[in-house]
Symmetry: C2
Subunit: 397 residues, 2 copies
């Protein structure tokens, strides 16, 4: 842990505007407010209504990382280690229970190709010194009797967990508010223009015509982060939306049909404590389109039912689409902008927004407040890294 | 056309309460208000929000009738004949365009069993002297190029039409209101008790505590009609809910992918004028359960895509479940109760609520106001017929 200097063009702000009341904005707002900053969080929608509520909430750094990306893995593992303590702090601060699902995740194979992929995944975990247990289909079905008899094999992954992002959003909004952050949401609180004098930010103007002054602005607007109106071209971070569709099912009999997070092929099934299940997800490059489509719903149900036939007996409560904010190198952007002074980023979390939420608040606040921090992690998420340089096309967009 | 006597225990009312603001209640309310009655329509929800908005809106008396039920067929055909004039009157009265889809319905077969069923259906139409045209798969695909090449055969049914029930609800609410009917909706307008003195109705008490006096009460509450609180046992009409699930899809490119109503097996696809499509429907005996289920959504999409593969490319906008009000003999109950004086029924329309809406208003108003009417049709829908006698179980429920 080193005390990084505050970036050369940054000063410790007393007064911060956070653009975006999703998980990233809320965790940043909570951390800064708790540290004594004057924090206002702005969003055109209620907290967590854009992408955060569509997240499945798996805390799965190894499963989600590309095998050849040690930086992503280091970031994810540090984030996972933060979660139990973070959940406890969040519960204490908000009075809202934030349950972590701690039973081992089961990664399962439905055919030979998936069985081979599972074996590769087991090998990666073993090389990393992480626990993994190979299970015969019969053993997997003893743990989860709802699994189809056609199951080919399974791995138990004991260290990956899950959390309900909607609960986290609710708890964060309370915790941030109690720490003194003001959360202003609704169409009038949409930012119409980022205000700056050419070298440093001075605030933002909202749709209801208010001009808000601040020393610092944190952009935590997910897929929309690079498009905040008024951003100079050199500050148009190249974040793009990657659409994910998923379903919320509900067992009217209550919880218990499936107890563990199940992963299969590109899909997953995440049980919640109240009998709901999240079944996901597609990965689509469709720009800002967020329609739910017939094929996605059909394929998710077909693939899920191949694994857990009883899924088809459940109620279908929600069909959802969210826009994961992706960066060119797949890592988030957390820290000072290399452009305008007073401009900070907390975005680009792609598939890992829930997992990385606690670390995002800490890493950003460390930089903004000049606190000791983890230099290696800061380097991974540095918004000034070459991969995040806006292309001429981004800058013009 | 005969002038039927008003039922022995009924008198022509000046003042009518209609329980239910679905299609049945609205069409009755419009007709009675236009004839000079003082009409109040009550519902716990906004007009048409329970079952009417879930209807596909096919005007298909032959397709929907059981082949061995000439009464149902006679009723349906009379109703279909009313629709063009009714739509024109409704447009004129409301100022809202009520488009009828007049292109021939295509009944299609995907396999040999369905091809045989189609041939039986063609035979029924021919015996009834109704037009029907057998099409080779290639001819069907010339009409509707979105049909799958695996199509086995098709019939063109020129006289069946379709209408958007949500448009009809909006237009009826305006027309009824302009004719002087008062429509009171919302939780406070739920009926808490039907009021009567043991021999005749005196009004109703609503959830917000109002006691409304009236000479006549029309129960047009769909599947809930037999359960209006305060109904004496002998007036508990045996109406039961039959659940139907369906999907609303939408083509972001607008209308045109499919131009005709398509029928296949137990399913149908109904195009709307704005690029939406209704894909239905299940038929389930599940009491008042109206959850949408994973299996239904999966099966509807799978079966629909087998017929029109392009369906899977559409947006999935709504997953819906409605409760069709079914009677023991499958015919509606329209007319005076054999029990309490001043009590009238307009319910039990099962799968044909949209088709029968115009006729329902006319048949009921004819009886209530002592106007000339069609005696044969009145006999079919008479609430006093033996099939509608409440069982001891209904009476206790």
């Amino acid at each position: 842990v080193t005390e990084l200097p505050i970036a050369p063009n940054q000063t410790r702000p007393d007064d911060v505007l956070v653009l975006g009341a999703g998980l990233a904005g809320l965790t940043v707002g909570w951390e800064l407010a708790a540290a004594g900053c004057r924090v206002r969080i702005l969003d055109r929608e209620a907290p967590g209504q854009a992408t955060s509520r569509v997240a499945a909430g798996m805390l799965a750094p190894v499963t989600e990382a590309e095998p050849d990306d040690p930086q992503q893995l280091a970031l994810g593992r540090a984030a996972l280690a933060r979660w139990p303590g973070y959940a406890a702090e969040l519960e204490a601060a908000s009075g809202i229970v934030v349950p972590l699902r701690r039973r081992p995740t089961l990664a399962v194979a439905r055919d030979r190709d998936e069985a081979e992929a599972l074996e590769r995944f087991a090998g990666i975990r073993e090389r990393l010194g992480l626990p993994v247990e190979r299970l015969l289909p019969s053993a997997a079905r003893t743990l989860e009797p709802a699994l189809a008899p056609t199951l080919r094999g399974a791995l138990a992954v004991p260290d990956e967990q899950a959390v309900d992002p909607r609960v986290v959003v609710r708890a964060l909004a309370v915790a941030a508010g109690d720490a003194g952050a003001r959360i202003a949401t609704g169409p009038g609180s949409a930012v119409e223009e980022l205000l700056h004098d050419g070298t440093r930010v001075t605030g933002a103007r909202t749709a209801d015509g208010l001009e808000l002054r601040s020393e610092a602005v944190v952009i935590a607007a997910g897929s929309w982060s690079g498009r905040v109106p008024g951003l100079p071209g050199r500050d148009r971070l190249p974040v793009r939306p990657v659409k994910g569709q998923l379903l919320v099912l509900r067992d009217p009999q209550g919880p218990g049909m499936v107890e563990r997070v199940l992963r299969f092929g590109a899909g997953y099934l995440v049980p919640r404590d109240d009998g709901r299940y999240v079944l996901g997800a597609t990965t689509e490059e469709r720009g800002f389109d967020h329609a739910t489509t017939a094929w996605a719903v059909h394929d998710l149900l077909r693939d899920g039912a191949e694994l857990v036939p009883g899924l088809l007996e459940l109620e279908l409560r929600e069909t959802l689409a969210g826009l994961r904010p992706a960066t060119p190198d797949g890592h988030p952007a957390i820290g000072p902008s290399p452009g305008l002074a007073g401009l900070w980023w907390a975005t680009g979390h792609y598939r890992n927004g829930v997992l990385l939420a606690p670390l995002t608040g800490t890493l950003l606040a460390d930089r903004m407040l000049g606190r000791p921090t983890d230099e290696a992690l800061q380097a991974i998420v540095d918004p000034a890294r070459p991969a995040l340089t806006p292309t001429p096309e981004d800058a013009r967009a």
